[in-house]
C-alpha cells in the first residue's frame, strides 16, 4: 500500500516537477512567476488533439507539432507583450501573465467549448507493470521516464551548450551578460519558448489521465507553482524535487488521511514551509539590501 502510494505519487509528482521546471526557467530570467504557463500548455495540448483527431496525423507528428506551436507561442508572448512593459515591477509582470492566462483560456474555450474530450495516447493507462510489491501503469511509467529524460536533457543543455551557458549568465546578471556580447532579449525569447515547450510536454502527458477541456491545467499549474515555491523558485533541481515531494505527500495524505482534502494539503504545506523557510526548501535565502 505504502509503496503503491509512493509510486503513483512519484508519477504525479513528475508532472508537477515538469511544470515547476517550466516556471522556474522563466522566473530565473524574467523574474516573474508565469501564471499563463498552464493555459499555454493547455492550448498546445489542444493543438496536439486537433492534429491527431481532426486532421488524422500520427501521434509523433502531432506531438512535435504541438511542441513547435508551444515554442512559438512562448516566444510570441514574450516578444509582443512582456518586452513592451515600461519600467516593470513584479506586480505588473505578474498581472501581464495573469492577462495571458485569461486570454488563452478564453481563446481555448471559445474554440473548443467546455466539452470534455479524450486525447488518444499510444501508451495505455490501464495495462499495468508489476514492480515487485507495487504496480504501475504504462502511462505513469512513461511519464516518469519522459520527465527524467527531459531533466537530463535540461541539465546537459545548461552545462554544455553555448545557449545554455548564455542563459545562466543572463539569469545571474543581465547587465554583465549584455556587456559580454550576449543578446539578452533574444535569450529571454528563447527561454520563454523552452519553458512553454516543457509545459506542453506536461500538458500532453497529463491529458490522458485527466480529461481534455479548457480547465485541464488550472489545478496542475497551481500545484506546479506550489512545488516550485516549495523547492525554491531560484533552483532548477530544488523545484523539481519540490514537485516530487509534493506529489508524494499529497498521495500519502490522500491514501492514509483523507481523500477529500487531498488537494488542499498541498497549499497548507506550502504556507507552513514558507513560514519557516521564506525562499523555499532548497534555495538560499537572500536578505534584501537597501
Amino acid at each position: 500500500m505504502f509503496l503503491q502510494l509512493l509510486l503513483s505519487g512519484l508519477s504525479f509528482g513528475s508532472l508537477y516537477a515538469l511544470i515547476a521546471l517550466a516556471m522556474v526557467i522563466i522566473y530565473k530570467t524574467s523574474e516573474v512567476p508565469n501564471f499563463g504557463q498552464g493555459e499555454m500548455a493547455m492550448l498546445s495540448t489542444f493543438v496536439a488533439f486537433t492534429l491527431l483527431v481532426t486532421y488524422g496525423h500520427s501521434f509523433a507528428i502531432s506531438f512535435i507539432g504541438a511542441l513547435l506551436f508551444a515554442a512559438l507561442l512562448g516566444a510570441f508572448l514574450e516578444f509582443v507583450f512582456l518586452r513592451r512593459a515600461k519600467d516593470p515591477n513584479i506586480l505588473s509582470l505578474i498581472l501581464i501573465t495573469l492577462g495571458f492566462e485569461m486570454v488563452l483560456y478564453g481563446v481555448a474555450s471559445w474554440k473548443w467549448g467546455a466539452d470534455q474530450r479524450d486525447l488518444p495516447f499510444p501508451v495505455s493507462d490501464f495495462d499495468l507493470v508489476n514492480l515487485g510489491p507495487a504496480v504501475i501503469s504504462y502511462l505513469n511509467l512513461a511519464t516518469l521516464l519522459v520527465t527524467l529524460a527531459l531533466m537530463l536533457l535540461l541539465f546537459l543543455f545548461f552545462r554544455y551548450t553555448k545557449v545554455g551557458i548564455a542563459m545562466k549568465a543572463t539569469q545571474q546578471n543581465p547587465m554583465a551578460a549584455r556587456v559580454n556580447g550576449i543578446r539578452v532579449n533574444r535569450i529571454l525569447s528563447v527561454t520563454w519558448a523552452m519553458s512553454s515547450t516543457i509545459g506542453a510536454v506536461a500538458g500532453i502527458m497529463l491529458a490522458p489521465v485527466a480529461t481534455l477541456d479548457p480547465n485541464l491545467m488550472l489545478e496542475p499549474l497551481l500545484k506546479g507553482f506550489a512545488s516550485a515555491v516549495l523547492g525554491g523558485m531560484t533552483t532548477l533541481v530544488g523545484s523539481a524535487l519540490g514537485g516530487y515531494i509534493l506529489g508524494i505527500i499529497e498521495n500519502l495524505f490522500g491514501g492514509y488521511v483523507s481523500l477529500e482534502f487531498k488537494s488542499i494539503v498541498a497549499f497548507g504545506i506550502i504556507v507552513l514551509v514558507l513560514c519557516f523557510k521564506p525562499s523555499g526548501l532548497f534555495a538560499k535565502h537572500y536578505i534584501k539590501k537597501v
Binding site: 485569461m102 478564453g106 474555450s109 474554440k111 497549499f267
Partner: protein, 349 residues
Amino acid sequence: MDMKRDYYEDIQLLDSKVLWFWFLMLIAALVTFPFLAPSYYIYMANYMAINIIVTIGLNILVGYTGQISLGHAGFFAIGAYGTVLLMKAFHFPFLFALVAAAFIAAFFGFVLGLPALRLEGPYLAIATLGFGMAITQVIGRWEVFGGRMGVEAPALSLFGISITTDLGRYFITVTIAFLMVLGARNLMKTRVGRAFIAIRDSDIAAETMGVNLVYYKTLAFAVSAFYTGVAGGLFAFLLGFISPSTFNFILSIYFLAFVIVGGLGSIFGSIMGGIVMTWLMLELDKIQELPYLGGLLIGFSEKFMTVAGLPNIASIIFGLIIILLVVFEPLGLYGFWIRTKIYWKTWPF
C-alpha cells in the same frame, strides 16, 4: 484655495465648497437614480456597488500597501457564507450578521497577514492563492456550508421592514458602499494610511522611520479582508443563492483586474474600475445580442470556433485589457482621468 495651513485642513474629507456641492449632488443623484432607472439597471448598480467595495478593499492591500493577493475570493466567500449562516443558524439580524461576518473575514485576513510578513513577490502570491483555494475547498466539502450544492440566502429584513426587491437592496447596498468609500478615503488620510503607503514605497525605510511593520502589514490585510467580507455578505443577497464554485480562483483574478483597471493606489480609481468592469462583465455575457457585431461574431464562431463558447470572449477582452493597461497605462483609468484633467486645465497649451 489649494493652500493647506494646518494638519486638520489637510486631513479634511472635503476641502472646498465646490467639492461639498458636488458631494451633495452625488447623494441626490444616488437617491433619485433608482426611481428613474429600469429594474435591470438597479440590479447592475447593486452589482457595481458591491464590486466597488471589493475593489477598494483590495486596493488598500495591493495599491496602497504593495502586497499582492490572489486569494480575495476566499474573503469574499467568508463574508457571503458568514452572513448567510449567522442569519440562518443563529438568527442574527442582517446588519449584525454582516458586520460579524466581515470581522471573521478580517480575522482570517490577520492570520494570512502573519506569513505575509516574511514573504514577498511570487511567494506571497502562492501563499494567498493557496489560502483562497483552501477556503473554497473547505466550504465545498463541509456539509454545514451546504456542500457543493450551496445555500440559499434567507429573507432579508432591516428594522422590521422586509426587503424583497432590487430597489430595496439598492438602498442598503449603495448606502453601505458609500459609507465604506468615505471610510477608506478617511483612513488613507490618517496616520494608518500614510503608514501603508510608506510600507509600499519601501518597507525597510518605513521601519527605520518607526512604522511598526508587524502591526501595519497585518492591519492592511485585516482591513482589506473586512471590506471584501462586507461585499461578500451583500453579494449573497444580490444573487439570493451562493455555491462554492462562485468563489473560484478566476474571481480573485477578476478582483485584481478591477483594481488594475481603476488604478493602483487610488480610491477614485477603484470606484471607476468597479463601475466600468462590472458593466463590461454584465454586458459581455450577452455579446451576441449586440446589433451588428453580435451577428458577425456568431457567423465567425460558426465557421471557426463554437457558438457555445462565444461568451468566453469576455475572458479574452478582460485579459487584453489587463495586459494593455499594465503595458501602456500603469495608472489605469485614474491615470487617464488625471491626464485629461491636466489637459483641459492648461488647454490651449
